[in-house]
């Protein structure tokens, strides 16, 4: 087997093939740089002051400033309106956190019911779930706002938490998981042993579903943490905003962009870069350490057995 394959590979050794391979590597390499370079720049920018960032003294744009400057930038950023950035981060944790718990509480059992039971509205629920899942989040923001406005809930944390907790993709993931990975025989065995429906779910199905619970949790958290449009529309006050909306508010305090900014509140570019980094830090950590999970979720439909 290996011998034949090796001979095939050797016969590949033609100039044309090599040219193709080199081109392919160059393309992949170019895009690797394209995807990574901005990240490297963003990691380095907060270690500089404005003059260094602009390269006024010939600093390369991908050079490291100093830890002292990083600390100084951090202190100044935290000093912006008495630690407003902490308020924003706290809000993000609160909104995304409560929504995460609610999402898991409603979508895992729903996915289980859809996968393992035939009941009257099953098909209707399934089709509407798929439909809403494929409709982009942003398409529903203004309609949801109009509705929330009609019941006078604009500005309330519920106005973001409840829409965040509505996560059809999570139900879809749970549905796929339960239909493929948990056998009906196993559940029936528990039933024969006298377990009631709720015991079957809690003692048999749920322990088996830990991977999909984590998966739905990750996706829900990442989606909600990064959501900009919905909280921007729902929460008008600066103190109630999550970090993503706060980040854009910082932009209004950058002197280069808005010359009318009050000097004491002014945000220089290195601090804005630091704020950008902080605003995605939790999601970035999830991405770095749970890549396998995220990939499993993305490809949940692509790899059919």
């Amino acid at each position: 087997m290996t011998a034949t394959r090796r001979s095939v590979v050797r016969s590949d050794f033609a100039p044309g093939r090599w040219l193709g391979r080199v081109t392919a590597f160059l393309i992949a390499g170019f895009f690797a740089v394209f995807f990574v370079l901005p990240l490297v720049w963003l990691l380095l920018a907060p270690t500089k002051d404005t003059a260094q960032l602009n390269g006024f003294h010939g600093e390369a744009s991908l050079s490291f400033g100093s830890f002292e400057q990083l600390v100084a930038n951090w202190n100044e950023l935290v000093g912006f309106q008495d630690g407003r950035i902490w308020t924003w981060l706290g809000n993000s944790v609160f909104y995304a956190g409560v929504a995460l718990v609610l999402t898991l509480l409603v979508s895992i059992p729903a996915g289980y019911a859809l996968a393992k039971t035939n009941f009257r509205f099953r098909r209707a629920i399934l089709i509407s779930t798929l439909m809403v899942m494929l409709i982009p989040n942003t398409a529903l923001v203004l309609p949801v706002f109009l509705e929330i406005n009609a019941v006078h809930l604009v500005g309330s944390p519920l106005a973001v938490i409840l829409p965040f907790a509505f996560f059809p993709f999570g139900v879809y993931l749970a549905y796929i998981y339960f239909s493929t990975s948990v056998s009906r025989e196993l559940l029936d065995a528990a039933r024969i042993d006298g377990a009631g429906e709720f015991a079957v779910f809690r003692r048999i199905a749920l322990p088996l579903a830990i991977p999909v619970v984590a998966l739905v949790g990750f996706f829900n958290f990442v989606t909600n943490w990064n959501n900009y449009f919905l909280p921007f529309v729902m929460l008008p006050g600066s103190k109630t905003q999550p970090i993503q909306v706060g980040l854009v508010e910082l932009l209004a305090n950058v002197r280069e962009i808005n010359p009318t900014t009050v000097a004491s509140d002014s945000i220089p570019f290195p601090q804005l870069a630091l704020a950008t980094l902080i605003s995605v830090a939790p999601v970035l950590i999830v991405f770095l350490f749970s890549q396998r999970f995220l990939v499993a979720g993305l490809t949940a439909g692509a790899t059919k057995e």
């Binding site: 193709g20 392919a24 992949a28 690797a32 995807f35 990574v36 901005p38 990240l39 509480l105 059992p109 289980y112 019911a113 035939n118 009941f119 009257r120 099953r122 098909r123 629920i125 509407s128 798929l130 439909m131 494929l134 409709i135 982009p136 398409a139 529903l140 923001v141 203004l142 309609p143 949801v144 109009l146 509705e147 406005n149 409840l162 509505f166 059809p168 139900v171 796929i176 042993d193 006298g194 377990a195 429906e197 900009y228 449009f229 980040l247 854009v248 932009l251 962009i257 570019f269 870069a273 995605v280 999601v283 970035l284 991405f287 995220l294 990939v295 993305l298 490809t299 692509a302 790899t303």
Partner: protein, 311 residues
């Protein structure tokens, strides 16, 4: 698993049956209603009801049915057509770029024989996804600013010496494409890769034995076999692209309003509701038009796409 537990339960079984009259299929259906009730409530309140309410608002004015008036007004707005053109220009560039490049990169990464190289490449392509939303636009504000950008030489090639020149109105569709590609392409490359990976080894082996080149294999075998996934990518990208909001919103703020606040359709719907007009009805009409496009694409896919027929 200890065997003692089940026997213990067996003793209790008759008791339970007597206590609860629902058995078998009935009990299961009852449980299913309970299990799905929380989600169904959210689905109704935050999925169905907003659409119905927006539909209602779009056909009424102060509670009176006015037919298509709100739609006529929204479409007749002098800002409507430019917004459609902006979104259309972005969509064309974005969808073509994404489809070609994401598929090409997936093919290349899939063809890599060295495992760690392939997985590292996918990982690197994917990380920017963490910046989806406002953060990616913020980052690109820096990258498009010749005085701080690490690629200022590229900007200077094109003759841009300051930020305001770089984000010229005519450049925006391309800029949004670059931002969207930077943040979103990695996820699509991973999906395409998984689809390619799913093609059976025998088929690929057969092609190799027949002496097909990598390009011919890709064109005649791999691409036709993953066409459903490519279609999925196109449909979803069109749906997402029509909703353009955060990118022009943030760029408008950064450009000292060189970019209008009603650049995209979603922005127009937003300023119609929140601006001086405070016209929720026309805003709902624009939202409904956007929603019909998104729902139409979604429905087409659910019923015709063939990716979701597990049922």
């Amino acid at each position: 698993m200890p065997t003692a537990a089940p026997t213990k339960k067996r003793q209790w079984a008759p008791l339970r049956l007597r206590r609860r009259p629902r058995t078998g299929a009935n009990a299961q259906a009852f449980a299913a209603y309970v299990f799905s009730s929380g989600y169904v409530l959210l689905l109704l309140v935050f999925g169905v009801l907003p659409m119905v309410y927006a539909l209602y608002l779009s056909f009424t004015k102060s509670g009176q049915f006015v037919g298509l008036d709100n739609y006529v007004k929204a479409v007749g707005d002098f800002r409507f057509l430019p917004a459609v053109q902006h979104v259309a220009a972005f969509l064309v560039i974005w969808v073509v770029t994404l489809t070609v490049l994401a598929t090409l990169l997936a093919l290349i990464v899939h063809a890599m024989r060295v495992r760690w190289l392939s997985s590292t490449a996918r990982f690197l392509f994917f990380i920017p996804g963490a910046f989806a939303g406002a953060a990616s636009v913020m980052l690109w504000l820096f990258l498009l600013n010749p005085s701080v950008s690490p690629v200022s030489f590229v900007l200077k090639w094109f003759g841009y010496t300051n930020f305001v020149q770089a984000i010229d109105l005519n450049n925006l569709p391309l800029i949004f494409t670059v931002i969207a590609f930077w943040t979103g392409a990695g996820a699509w490359i991973i999906i395409m890769y998984a689809a390619l990976h799913n093609i059976s080894n025998e088929i690929m082996e057969a092609a190799r034995c027949d002496g097909a080149s990598a390009i011919k294999t890709a064109w005649y075998i791999q691409l036709p076999l993953i066409r459903k996934w490519i279609a999925y990518m196109v449909v979803i990208s069109v749906a997402v692209g029509t909703q353009l909001f955060a990118e022009p919103k943030i760029l408008a703020q950064a450009s000292r309003n060189q970019i209008p606040k009603h650049y995209s359709l979603n922005q127009l719907a937003y300023v119609t509701a929140f601006g001086p007009q405070a016209d929720f009805n026309s805003s709902a009409a624009i939202s409904m038009m956007l929603l019909v496009v998104a729902a139409g694409l979604a429905a087409f896919f659910v019923f015709r796409g063939g990716l979701f027929d597990r049922d």
